[in-house]
């Protein structure tokens, strides 16, 4: 019989696969085996992931304990090995910071860098709401029982900080006050460009001074800001917030206002944006200086719509004027009190979701206190990505 004839006479039928009980049992066994293998593989993968997470957390706990122990004993003899429980932690220098290495049982190591801080940040930055004026406590329900010592701005840091008139994202606008109030202002008015997600600051710049009033114009679209690291905006005048503020990225934003010798803070009871009969100065002294004052914050503007929720901290050197209820995610520090404009039921909602750890973090621009200390640990990257550096300093807007 030829080969061609042999193959032509054989016809494969699918019934052959299930004709025999033994064959069916074999197929069923293979299917069960496959399903079990998938289940076991999934379980092993999950266990492996948790084992790695366990190593990471253990390394973090050991590194935190080691750096605090080292700081207490001094670090002249670096590099050294500190034993925390059964975990050896090697501590070495990395520039002015510390570098901690924790070996893993199965090989490899977790590495952390730890900055050296000059002192602790003000405690108020670790709380959702802090009030400096005892009389202001009466205007809050559920407020902290005792007045808090208020954070102080670092004059030396302010003198060397970037200024808003050298940053393209801020422009002078002589007519912005007339759009919101019946009269203009005596100090310079700066308006931030809310369409820009980045301010175009140099690498590592964490403090900007606005030498006048700062306006965040009214609008429904929030001002979305990307921050690679923490940033403090110090307004040497009033702060007018007309739209929500959202912050993307790992950094946190702190907006701080401060009255000056030429612009004092006052409670603007009639909400007309300037000193008038019936208003009250915050320091109890006769009113003087610029008619619109300085150090005040206006949360919500007359022509605005919607709640100006702020995903940042607010340090109000003067009076906070609240037009509508608003949510504040960062620490709120009120130097004086709160004045309601518009809705009498306007409420401040401090969420406390973007607070600082005062004992282990510094807030840019504010005076620290206490002894030197280790900051928060960060995963160590030997070649961190360089920050943006503009080729030319931005010219002020015309």
């Amino acid at each position: 019989m030829s080969g061609q004839t042999l193959f032509r006479s054989v016809r494969v039928q699918w019934r052959w696969l299930v004709d025999s009980p033994l064959l069916v049992a074999t197929w069923a066994t293979m299917a069960m085996g496959l399903l079990t293998m998938v289940q076991v593989a999934r379980t092993l993968r999950s266990a492996d992931r948790v084992r790695e997470r366990s190593g990471q957390v253990l390394a973090r706990v050991a590194a935190e304990a080691a750096i605090v122990r080292l700081d207490a004993s001094g670090d002249e003899a670096l590099p050294i090995e500190v034993r925390v429980g059964r975990v050896p932690v090697r501590v070495d220098r990395a520039g002015v910071d510390w570098l901690l290495t924790v070996p893993l049982p199965g090989g490899g190591a977790w590495r952390f860098s730890c900055p050296r801080l000059r002192g602790a940040a003000p405690l108020a930055f670790g709380r959702p709401l802090s009030l400096g004026d005892p009389t202001a406590l009466r205007s809050f329900v559920g407020a902290p029982g005792e007045p808090t010592e208020l954070p102080r701005l670092d004059a030396v840091a302010l003198a060397h900080a970037w200024r808003a008139d050298h940053i393209a994202a801020f422009r002078r606008d002589v007519g912005i006050a007339l759009l919101n109030f019946e009269a203009g202002t005596e100090l310079d008015d700066f308006v931030v460009d809310t369409k820009r997600p980045r301010l175009g600051l140099g690498a590592g710049v964490d403090l900007v001074v606005v030498p006048g009033h700062l306006w965040i114009e009214s609008g429904k679209e929030p001002w979305r800001l990307w921050l690679e690291h923490d940033l403090t905006l110090v307004v040497q005048g009033n702060l007018y917030i007309g739209r929500p503020i959202e912050v993307d990225g790992p950094g946190r934003l702190v907006l701080a206002t401060t009255p000056t010798r030429d612009a004092v803070a006052f409670a603007d009871r009639d909400g007309n944006g300037r000193w008038s009969v019936g208003d009250r100065t915050c320091d109890g002294q006769p009113f003087r200086g610029a008619i619109e004052g300085g150090g005040n914050v206006y949360l919500g503007l007359a022509g605005g719509s919607g709640a100006p929720d702020v995903a940042a901290g607010l340090v109000v050197g003067g009076e906070l004027h609240l037009r509508t209820s608003a949510r504040i995610d960062g620490p709120i520090v009120l130097g004086h009190g709160l004045t309601r404009l518009g809705a009498p039921t306007a409420v401040l909602h401090p969420t406390g979701s973007k607070l600082f750890v005062p004992e282990r973090e510094a807030v840019p621009g504010f005076v620290v206190s206490g002894p030197q200390r280790p900051g928060l640990l960060r995963p160590y990257t030997p070649n961190p990505a360089s920050g943006e550096e503009p080729l030319y300093l931005a010219a002020p807007g015309r």
Partner: protein
């Protein structure tokens, strides 16, 4: 002597194969479920511990958060709170073979 036909042998063989493979599959599956459950519990403890590592100890004026639920998380070591000038932190103590914490 009773003779068994080929078909009967085949059927008994198939039944035996299904029984053994079914039992084995069920046993392996139970073991996997137990391991998955233990892994899930451990993961929850780790995530809770991660929230305590920095700033989770609370104010020195208040009692520290309890750590009993984290017992046995790390073999041969025990977690404990330690008061320092910069705040309350977590630390580890080795448990010796005789059960003494050092």
């Amino acid at each position: 002597m009773r003779r068994f036909g080929g078909v009967q042998v085949e059927r008994w063989g198939a039944l035996l194969l299904l029984s053994v493979s079914g039992a084995g599959t069920w046993w392996l599956s139970q073991q996997a479920v137990e391991v998955a459950s233990a892994t899930s519990v451990r993961e929850e403890k780790l995530e809770h511990l991660a929230t305590l590592v920095v700033g989770g100890g609370g104010s020195a004026a208040l009692a520290p958060p309890p750590l009993e639920s984290l017992e046995g998380l790390f073999e041969g070591q025990r977690l404990a709170w330690q008061e320092t000038p910069t705040g309350r932190i977590l630390t580890l103590h080795a448990i010796a073979v005789d059960g003494v914490v050092r």
